[in-house]
Amino acid sequence: MILTREPETFPKSPGIIGRMGRWLLLSSREIGRASMLLLEALLAIRFVIHRRSRDQVVEQMYSYGIKSLSVVTIVAVFTGMILALQTGIELRKFNQEVNIGTAVMVSMLREMGPFMTGLIMSACVGSSMAALLGTMTVSEEIAAMEIMSISPVQYLVMPRLLAMMLIMPALSFYTCIMGVIGGGVVGMTQLDVAWANYIDNATRYADNKDLFVGLFKAVLFGMIITAVSCHEGFRASQGAVGVGRATRKSVIESFLLILIVGYFVTRLFYF
């Protein structure tokens, strides 16, 4: 895959139909290129047997996972607390506040765990990926790699993709646990729900499917964040301005795709 591209121009069209058509064509092209990048990186996972690649994957997992843990913890705990508070206020009207356990657990496992983790990782990790690869592109480091016949996809994208595919489900699961703990704290302190009752209620109605669908979503979100961020990084041009633009676009596009894909996965498994 040739990543170093020439400046591309696509003439502007007059009229609203022409502009919409141009937007559609350009969007389709970029989605196609990002998909090709993802496919090539997935195929390159076979090279992870090389020690250098393995080391890179472990390094990236540490960088993405451990270094994001503090922000993930805070967001997860408060997400669980908000969920418990909002559902508890409504359930209290029917003396059903003990059921906040189920509400928090199911919401966190199915949606909020992978969703919140995806958003955090997109903002923290995706943006840094786009900025790094964007800087490398504009400073001709990617071109230098291509001339040395070193595949930037294999050398740079694959370890990041694999690291994200492995770390995202783990972080998502951790987010769920932290969210449930946060919900339990609100249950105990604000809604007079005993901890044992809360946990009993939370574990009674959640099943394995909820867990596995959530983890599946997390893997998908990891792939989306990596593909979008790396693609935008490789597209960067025009120096620092271009790198900034690539970083911003990578976060926006990842957010949107996480929402859209999340909806369709939910629909696929629960409807």
């Binding site: 040739i2 020439e6 230098a144 040395m148 016949s149």
Partner: protein, 259 residues
Amino acid sequence: MEQKNPVMIRFEHVTKSLGGRVVLDDLDFSIARGETFVIVGSSGVGKSVTLKHMVRLLTPDSGRIFVEDACVSEAAGKPLEHIREQFGYLFQSGALLAWLTVFENVALPLREKTTMGEKEIQDRVMQVLGLVGLETEGGKVPSEISGGMRKRAGLARAIVRQPEIVLYDEPTSGLDPVTSRTIDALIEKLRVELGVTSVVVTHDLQSALTIGTRIAMLQGHLQELCTPAEFVRSQQPEVKEFLESQFITRKGVWERNLS
């Protein structure tokens, strides 16, 4: 024994426009095996663009480019990879990977694209770092060394695999005069001892006249293509102006009236 093509790189009527402006206009020339071909010209006339076409970082709008007998301007995938393996490329900025040390940067193509052992790689890297005067800087990352050192490290990486062709994009810009002449001597040594074909883009006419076997002056099109001796005697107004701007007379010596 297989006879090698005496022509290393051939441009056939290459035209290229960027941003609506014709940058290369019907460029047609060839570079012989083992020669040091220097491209000079004002900023923005397409010198680096010409260089990038040789390794298909850019593709011509029309015309073709051959490396030996392979058409690089139409190559892709494995054939392109094979052609590129013949090249070393020194970028203007050095283009070193920021998180690797100088040693690791230079060792990168050996580690990724050869089956050499670690000891062999270490010996080879130290040898080329010695050639560019960076043997004591191998443990530093690019942000810890000067721009000139980064360029020299980039040069070490470009030649570490002993390529047949080395492309130099402004090899002496930003370097002090002594280091510049060391780089010139290295390019000349590669040509004489190893028969390396070099293509050098530069504004430094002293360097061009020292190392070049032929000099091409670009103005979008090919303004002049001749030996250094012919270049300093050229009657082309653009060439004369270029020479005079760097105080070079028709005898090829430096002359500046300081009175």
